[in-house]
Amino acid sequence: MMKISPKTATLLVLTALVAITPFFFPSGYYYRVGALIFVNGLAVTGIVILTGYAGQISLGHAGFAGIGGYACALAPVHWGIHPALAVVLGAAISAGLAYLVGRPILRLKGYYLGVATLGFGILVSMVLNNERDLTRGPDGIEVPELGLRAVLKDWGLNLSNGEFWYYFCGLFLIVGAWIALNLHSSPAGRALRALHGSEVAARTVGIDVPRMKLQAFVISAVYASVSGSLLALQNKFITPDVAGFMHSIEMVTMAVLGGVGSVLGAIFGAGILTLLPQVLTVFAEYEQMVLGLVMVLVMIFLREGLLPSILRRLRGRGE
């Protein structure tokens, strides 16, 4: 039998999921849920690079999602930039900011890094909330239409709005996962995983630890930013909540819950946590309690995250 690498396997599984699940959708609504999972999955893939590979914590990554989202809302209106370019602009601003902020704060470790990133996220969300002249404050702001769907229609590919965003976000997720997986086995990825194990040991073998950490931070910021942009373009509306503390926590929780060590695991976590509220709307009253309980129980009983634990159990049974 031909041996396939974990990388190829992950990409195949992802592509198959994106392509095949729509056949089982009972209604158009599920395209929207799927697209949301992909958007969250993209942000969470960035967390895998930062936390899973490099072992650094961020409690403020939603700040970058906010920047990406508001870039799509503001740049087309104020500077007449095409929304697609606004995604790139948002990513560039996020990367620049991550570079500037990351330099000083990545010297910190553990909880100190946590509070510093938390502070950064809160600053971004505050600016979005308070600069009403620009962002229209807490009520949110409309985001212009991307316009790609109309172009596709001209080419003869007629997709509904839900279908378009489902496949578009799915494509982004697959490309994002592909990049993250390539990084994993590249020299840079190995360096990141080495410094995760021990910074001192990594330094002694000649790894430029601060530079590598900064790279991981910048890359993961770009992931968060693009995910924020996609969310804004898809909803055609955005509020400062996208940059809020709870969204930062959500990203980290999705990643760790699913298994922050692997791209597929983290995306799985994004899927579960995106679906959970949809399922729980039936028990709206208990939603928060169940969510909190799930977070606690998974972290206690399945420490490596859901997917790795499940896979291990399956393998254990097979032998």
Binding site: T51, L108, I122, L291, G292, M295, V296, M299, I300
Partner: protein, 290 residues
């Protein structure tokens, strides 16, 4: 001048609440190396349970006492059911566990009580006291006094009593503490009870000024965490200074610069402090183990 004094008063009042929350963080961190993000929920529970018991007809002191006892018991339960089973888990997992606990407590609170904003009467009336052109509420004095008394009490406890020293020993080295016969499980239980009780006390004292609802906890947790980190995590003196500092920075920013960005100022100061002192103002320097 009277304006400055006024800002000073309001800063010291909120600062005292943050200091109490930060002290709660410190106690649990010392005993278990866990930063308990549910600390703010203890404050919320202190306020909510007191309101509920008082509305049900209990006299205020008794209502407050019951709130503190119930919250302390919940703290102990949280330790037994959520923290101890997760011993040795990485920092990120512990953060998620305590945030999960905090979401769980919020959900439970809105289910058992409600989603409304509540309050109860101030302990010594609402007549403002005039001091040098500024005014201060009697309840503010209760809050500030409460923070100082708790700090002094903890100081005596940790330095003068055998049990307190046992807690310190456990925080320094758990295994060594066990070897000299300290019941470290009891120390953990005690720390969570103490920390939750102090949190609830903060809620009891602050609610007549700040009001309470099921979702106010996270704000207290973030500020208390910030205060504890500013002072240097694990150091009670740092927690006290850090908490008051955050309160003062907030009040001065709100007064002189912009009330919208008062929360930002505290975090900018923290970023600046951590830049020069990566372990906070009074934090001990840690070394990397290879």
């Amino acid at each position: 001048m009277s304006e400055l004094l006024q800002f000073l008063f309001s800063g010291v009042t909120v600062g005292a609440v943050y200091a109490l929350v930060a002290l709660g963080f410190t106690i649990i961190y010392n005993a278990s190396d866990v930063v308990n993000f549910a600390q703010g929920e203890f404050v919320m529970l202190g306020g909510m349970i007191t309101w509920f018991a008082h509305a049900a007809g209990l006299p205020l002191p008794l209502a407050a006492l019951s709130a503190i006892v119930v919250t302390a018991a919940l703290g102990v339960a949280m330790n037994k059911l959520m923290i101890e089973p997760a011993r040795g888990a990485p920092v990120v997992s512990l953060i998620i566990i305590t945030i999960g606990a905090s979401i769980f407590i919020q959900g439970g609170t809105q289910l058992i009580f409600d989603k409304q904003i509540h309050s109860f009467p101030a302990f010594s009336g609402d007549a403002p006291i005039r001091v040098g052109g500024a005014t201060i509420l009697p309840q503010s004095l209760w809050v500030i006094g409460g923070a100082l008394v708790v700090f002094l009490g903890l100081w005596v406890f940790f330095t003068r009593t055998l049990l307190g020293r046992a807690v310190l020993a456990t925080s320094n080295n758990r295994l060594a503490a066990q070897l000299v016969g300290i019941n470290t499980n009891f120390v953990m239980t005690l720390s969570f009870a103490l920390s939750a009780g102090i949190g609830a006390l903060a809620g009891v004292l602050a609610t007549p000024i700040t009001l309470v609802a099921y979702n106010v906890g996270i704000g207290f947790a973030l500020k208390g965490f910030a205060g504890a980190m500013l002072g240097g995590m694990g150091n009670p003196k740092g927690a006290l200074v850090g908490g008051f500092a955050i309160g003062l920075i907030e009040a001065m920013t709100a007064g002189y610069l912009s009330s919208q960005y008062k929360d930002a100022a505290a975090f900018i100061v923290i970023l600046a402090v951590l830049f020069f002192l990566p372990h906070g103002l009074f934090g001990r320097k840690s070394t990397d183990r290879v």
